[in-house]
Amino acid sequence: MQFAEVIENVLAGERISDEEFLMLEAQADLHQLGFLADSIRKRKHPQKVVTYVIDRNINYTDICISACKFCAFFKGPEEKDGYLLTFDELGEKIEETKALGGTQILLQGGLHPGQPLEYYEEMLTFMKSRGIHIHGFSPPEIHHFSELSGQPVPVVIERLIAAGLDSIPGGGAEILTDRVRNLTAPRKCSADQWISIMEESHRQGLRSSATMMFGHVETSEDRLEHLRRLRELQDRSGGFTAFIPWPFQPQNTVLADLEKTTAVGYLRMLALSRIYLDNFDNIQASWVTQGPKVAQLSLSFGANDFGSTMIEENVVAAAGISFRLSEQEIRRLVSDAGYTPAQRLMDYTLLA
């Protein structure tokens, strides 16, 4: 396989093989990856539109039994200062979000040891009654609810949908290989479980996003395996709306001595994802980890979505990163890059 053939294949709109991915990762320079990713992005999104969503992260609890080494957010159940939001607090946050033009809540929390499945059903019913889209409970949480309740995953998903769940965030994927999960997050659901929960939720009609947190202990092959599993599931289910890669933020974590992925490393991985995941419509920039400048540039490296205004964000902030962007600022960055900004919903339909 020659490098030139790989480039021709990509530009001809063909799917790249694993071998080709590894060749690009090892041999292509930043310009080459940018041009290839941008050509795919242009083919998939010929209108020069960059989307964003107005929403708020609500992390209902930071108490978590998973104790992942890359996480700066959680509190162990034995620690005194963990929190669990009350329904009143949830209600207040929803009202604030709606007042700011928000269309959805990204609802995620730690794996709390003490709450039954009924509690989460009530939470959803309560939140849903306020009239907002609930993008909630990543696969590790659903897995956890299943373990605690003794109910099989399909039943848990069915019950959550009945209680008001609208879609599932792609969090907790980290790197979808058991080698990496054993090293960094042994108590979190396995790669197989993550995939099968997503597959089941897609089967039951939920859409979801997919993420990858890279730049810690994984190898090139691990990243490829992650992308391969996502691409295979997307071939089967078509349920993923978007892919969101972001680099591990080491500060305040057990892995704090690892070097943070640089901006060039981020743009390379973003472009490689755009090139490999030919069956994903949307790739999201991560301004929360990269800041506004690099996020704006990522629009030339495969991203067609600016993510969320994140009225509230706690998890990356716990790792010492605190970029803030208003809707107005997002629109300015997008326009300045030569695109038309457009507010969207979770499923990427545009608001009129």
Partner: protein
């Protein structure tokens, strides 16, 4: 111990088929004639510069600038082990874009004694610093001798330090102060230890901009005159442009044209350093900060237009280490240095650190696929980190 596995590779392929494809794309983007000129090493016209500035195709601009950058500097990315000292922020100019300058007696106004400056140098004698970068305001009453003592004092502490100090604006002020010509003033300063001039104070040369933002500052043509006199005496200097406030694209290009013409005449500029405007705490704080694309555009257009400048610097203090790293693929071949104690940009709300370790610089450069080269002020190689 968990070992981190690199996302990067050292071997990059130069593939003709790919470049053919990219060049087709550049032609389609309307940049074909500029591509031809760049490949033929022809000088770009004013209008070419405007086309580049008005393009949003940052990948195409980056590709073009990278051709020139690689031709002039191969894979080298330079940095310096330096120390910044801002001896005083007391200033009679009080430019509207500046958050650093203060009237004498105002809050936060300061001036260092010669002894304090020496102490700052002494504090860091253990470090392999090769350059002191020293600028300040236009002080209303410090005597000429103070400036000579600053230079002599630093040299007393460590004689081998190169002192890059006093912008052309300060030099013109010192010349007034001592009542001698620019050339005579520079001779005295060189004798006291001055090694080269930094590029500050250029802002945007346009009289329109200067009248609105810094009417008391040395006019652009005089700034250039001071630089050229220094060059003709054998001294090197840098050149900057403060972008991202109220200047037009034409004004940016007039600025670059004036620098290019001066360089044709004297060949004394080492590097062009585009400086992004930081509005916070200035009288222009209602303006937005520059975007990533504008930052890269100024690096790329600078590289393409200033064909007679050996180096283009991505100053990490201004645009952040992340953008400076990316800029190494968009025309820049220098990231400035370790800096420490940068005050001017930080008073304008820069959220970058005030110092960066040389190991971090080396890592950023390597991960950008370049070769880190520690240099001295005049771009002599001190160490190549292969």
């Amino acid at each position: 111990m968990i070992e981190k596995i690199s996302l990067y590779s050292k071997s990059r392929v130069n593939n003709p088929a790919f470049y053919f494809t990219v060049e087709n794309y550049i032609v389609k983007a309307g940049l074909g004639s500029i591509l031809d000129k760049v490949k033929a090493e022809e000088r770009l016209s004013f209008d070419d510069g405007l086309v580049l500035y008005n393009s949003n195709d940052i990948l195409a601009l980056g590709y073009l600038a990278n051709l020139v950058r690689n031709r002039m500097n191969a894979d080298n990315a330079y940095f310096i082990y330096n120390q910044h000292i801002n001896y005083s922020n007391i200033c009679t100019n009080l430019c509207k874009f500046c958050a650093f300058g203060r009237e004498k007696g105002a809050d936060l106004a300061y001036e260092m004694s010669v002894e304090q400056v020496k102490e700052k140098v002494r504090d860091r004698l253990a470090e392999p610093i090769t350059e002191i970068h020293m600028v300040g305001g236009i002080h209303p009453d410090l005597p000429f001798d103070y400036y000579l003592e600053l230079l002599r004092g630093i040299k007393e502490v460590k004689s081998e330090l190169h002192i890059q100090a006093f912008t052309c604006v300060e030099i013109a002020h010192l010349s007034d102060l001592v009542g001698k010509s620019i050339e005579q003033t520079l001779e005295i300063l060189i004798d006291a230890g001055l090694g080269s001039l930094p590029g500050g104070g250029a802002e945007v040369f346009s009289p329109r901009i200067r009248e609105i933002t810094c009417e008391k500052k040395l006019p652009g043509k005089d700034w250039l005159e001071v630089a050229k006199i220094a060059h003709k005496m054998g001294m090197k200097s840098n050149a900057t442009m403060l972008y991202g406030h109220i200047e037009t694209m034409e004004e940016r290009l007039e600025h670059l044209s004036a620098l290019r013409d001066a360089q044709d005449e004297t060949d004394g500029f080492l590097a062009f350093i585009p400086l992004s405007f930081h509005p916070k705490n200035t009288e222009m704080s209602d303006l937005s900060r520059t975007t990533g694309i504008d930052d890269l555009k100024n690096v790329a257009v600078g590289r393409l237009f200033l064909d007679n400048f050996p180096h283009i610097k991505a100053y990490w203090v201004m645009i952040g280490p992340q953008m400076a790293q990316i800029a190494l693929s968009f025309g820049a071949d220098d990231m400035d240095g370790t800096v420490k104690e940068e005050v001017i940009t930080h008073m304008a709300g820069a959220d970058t650190d005030q110092a960066i370790g040389s190991t971090t610089l080396v890592r950023l450069i390597k991960e950008a696929g370049r070769v880190p080269v520690q240099r001295d002020t005049l771009y002599n190689v001190i160490e190549t980190h292969n």
